[in-house]
Amino acid sequence: MSQPLAQSPQTTQSTPTRSPYPTEPKPYKPGFAERLYLPLLGGMLVTMKHFLKNLFNPSRMYTISYPEERRDYSHRFRGHHILTTRPDGSVRCVACFLCAQNCPAECITIEAGEHPDVNIEKYPTVYEIDMLRCVFCGYCVDACPEEAIIMSNNYDMAYFTREQSIVGKADLMKPFTFDENQLGYRPRFPEEDVQRSKMRRDAFNLVEAAKQAQEREAHKAAHS
């Protein structure tokens, strides 16, 4: 399989006792102009060109003013997880433990409970992801057979304490992550399939509105 190397093979075969490799480094020898620092002028032209370009066309500059400006990430970005919901707003997850099994960082904790609907059987009473342990590899999303866990392209995760970093079911189902522009990694899932996420968000909003209405009613009833 091997092919001749870049150096001359004659020296290696004729005199096997001599080393086939260079025994002394041959350093670069600068020319006359280089010793006079002349090529520096060319370098200065390069920096001047970049300077003027950035001065008169600042929109092409690479630096951005985060957090006011943000980089556009694709809809494959592996960011904060989302637990998706059924149309009635309950969690889709059936507590099959595949994601916890497939997690290389062992950061998912699930406790299963019995679902009142016999067709669903199980649901997670506790679903926690330790965001400080998570390596955002997307293996949980690969593993999920229910499309119950997907990822958003939200990478803003900062916590004051370690306890805060353990994110529970309520945070994972938060509505802000349901914006179809914020969807992230969903493997083997058509890139344009935002219809579903719209449905999820509408369903969530409906449930949210109903909840609020209920609360208002309760509030009214308590004060009247």
Binding site: S2, Q3, P22, P25, P30, G31, R35, P39, G42, P145
Partner: protein, 572 residues
């Protein structure tokens, strides 16, 4: 605990190896058929002489010691095996030596006289397995703490065990230096690192200075040791992929490819052409990115921040490309065993083409700035120079070796994927110093761009991006939702993992720093029995004290940048 049977002995072998074998007493060397390269089981008593013969015999010329690692088989009578990987650059041939050892007698001859590369490899084997090397001058722990007890890669060492290690037992080097009490100036010992911006990671450099000249030095590593190899043994084959991201994090994709190709070789899986094509393009882009980081930071160390910004723009764009493919910028985990994480995005080719058009301008700008700039030339020419012969003896590979005049490149010498069909050159320079290491990386960026252009011109192959084998790759989500059989495979693969057939493979790819090899042993279960990573910068960094002794302290910083040491890969 698995029961790996001792391997079957076979007798077919290559003639030149047979000639060497005939010189030693019968029974001391047993040849064995390997899946990837010839294997010899060598008795410890003749090991030193066998290696001398293999190195010096003009028929074999094994001039490079690539790797040394140990394996633990608790059920065997001879419990341990020391495994040497030899390579002949001239012949392009490989050989694996296995030395069985009994638990009560773990002494091996130190072969530093043949290959200086073994200096750190022998220390690592001592650290991880407790092998003792007779004649090694400085046999102490390398990756773990001085106060650590036990040998972590032995099978009876609990992977979940934790230690509290304090500073009081930290290593203090002792240098044997001639007396200089009648000199006017005292010598000064300084510590650079472990957390020092010039150290590019967490290394501790201890140097004895006479004025500004380093008279003696030593380095200590292990601050970023993450037990990659032990953790591989406790995780399934797929779960190792996110770990490989963290080896050389500047070019994480190449590590993914290297690991996946090793497992695919054991599984004898044919990767679909689209995945091969994309893997090559993204590997070359990762190489460009790695070279940009290395050259940029080297120039920062020498005081040139401008070039750093110019070189980081292509890197930023390449991160964007990787993110559009796999969803992460740095720790990509973009490969799966048998293919890729998911299909390529529709604008993949267009993005690649835009990058190929964009990058040369930045490379050109930096070259105009520094290549003939006397300030840079004065800082780098002749600094930390090493001859090709020494570099081979120290086990160097990659751009650093090619800057010393030895044109060994895995892509050319042992072409994998489609590299044998591409038209590219292996640039070679002869200075062996920081200046030539810098230039060779710039030349390699151009060669990589050339390769990407050729691949793009061939067009994206159609077809799947991952192998259609439910024992290796997860079925598609659509199939999983709609077909009972696919659902069963899906559960089975995740709960049970891939079952890799018994065997062992050493497979290498050309990483950004040199030959990145994975030596993997499977016992037929869903977890690797042993997964050893041959990190290219490990032997390179072991040379570092020798390179900087006699130079000035500022040269030491520049030469560290030029070697491209990545702590994640060095300490695994």
């Amino acid at each position: 605990m698995s029961t790996l049977a001792p391997p079957q002995v076979k007798t077919t072998a290559l003639p030149e190896l047979e000639a060497v074998r005939a010189k030693f007493p019968a029974g001391s060397i047993l040849p064995q058929e390997g899946l990837d390269q010839p294997v010899w089981i060598v008795s410890r008593d003749v090991l030193f002489e066998v290696c001398r013969e293999l190195k010096e015999n003009p028929q074999t010329q094994f001039d490079m010691m690539l790797d040394l690692c140990g394996v633990d088989f608790p059920d065997r009578e001879e419990r341990f095996e020391a495994i040497y990987h030899l390579y002949s650059i001239q012949r392009g041939a490989r050989l694996r030596l296995k030395v069985p050892l009994r638990e009560d007698d773990l002494v091996l001859p130190s072969m530093l006289k043949h290959w200086k590369a073994l200096d750190w490899f022998e220390r690592e084997a001592y650290d991880m397995f407790g092998f003792r090397f007779d004649g090694h001058p400085n046999l102490r722990r390398i990756l773990t703490h001085e106060a650590f007890q036990g040998h972590p890669l032995r099978k009876d060492y609990d992977a979940a065990k934790r230690w509290i290690l304090t500073e009081d037992k930290i290593y203090q080097p002792h240098f044997d230096l001639p007396d200089n009490s009648d000199d006017m100036f005292e010598r000064m010992t300084i510590n650079i690192g472990p957390t020092h911006p010039a150290m590019h990671g967490t290394f501790r450099l201890m140097a004895v200075l006479d004025g500004e000249t380093i008279v003696a030095s030593d380095v200590e590593i292990g601050y970023l040791h993450r037990c990659f190899e032990k953790m591989s043994e406790t995780h399934t084959w797929q779960h190792v992929i996110p770990y490989t991201d963290r080896l050389n994090y500047c070019s994480a994709f190449i590590n993914n490819v290297g690991y996946c190709k090793t497992v695919e070789k054991m599984l004898k899986v044919e990767v679909p052409p689209k995945a091969v094509w994309a893997r090559m393009i993204l590997s070359e882009f990762s190489r460009i990115m790695d070279h940009c980081v290395c050259n940029g930071t080297t120039l920062v160390d020498a005081g040139g921040l401008t070039s750093f910004w110019y070189l980081f723009q292509p890197r930023e764009e390449i991160y964007g490309l990787l993110e559009s493919v796999c969803g992460a910028r740095l720790t990509v985990s973009a490969c799966r065993i048998g293919g890729l994480i998911q299909d390529l995005p529709p604008d993949f080719e267009a993005r690649c083409r835009r990058l190929v058009d964009m990058i040369p301008q930045y490379v050109q700008d930096v070259e105009t700035l520094v290549n003939k700039n006397r300030i840079w030339i004065d800082r780098s020419v002749g600094v930390a120079a090493i001859s090709g012969e020494d570099a081979v003896n120290w086990g160097w590979t990659g751009p650093c070796l090619r800057a010393s005049g030895v044109g060994y490149d895995v892509r050319r010498a042992h072409p994998y994927d489609l590299y044998d069909t591409l038209d590219f050159e292996v640039p070679v320079l002869y200075g062996g110093d920081v200046y030539d290491r810098f230039r060779i990386r710039m030349l390699e960026i151009r060669e990589s761009l050339k390769m990407i252009k050729q691949l793009l011109d061939r067009g994206m192959p159609s077809g799947p991006w991952i192998v259609d084998d439910p024992h290796v790759a997860l079925p598609s989500k659509e199939a999983c939702y709609n077909q009972m059989e696919a659902m069963i495979y899906h559960f089975k693969l995740i709960m049970d993992g891939i079952h890799v057939p018994e065997g062992e493979v050493y497979n290498m790819v050309e990483g950004a720093n040199g030959e990145l090899g994975f030596y993997t042993i499977s016992d037929g279960t869903s977890k690797p029995y042993r997964n050893h990573c041959r990190a290219p910068c490990f032997p390179i960094f072991s040379t570092f004290p020798n390179l900087i002794n006699g130079g000035s302290i500022s040269d030491a910083i520049v030469s560290l940048g030029g070697l491209n040491i990545v702590a994640g890969e060095l300490e695994r």
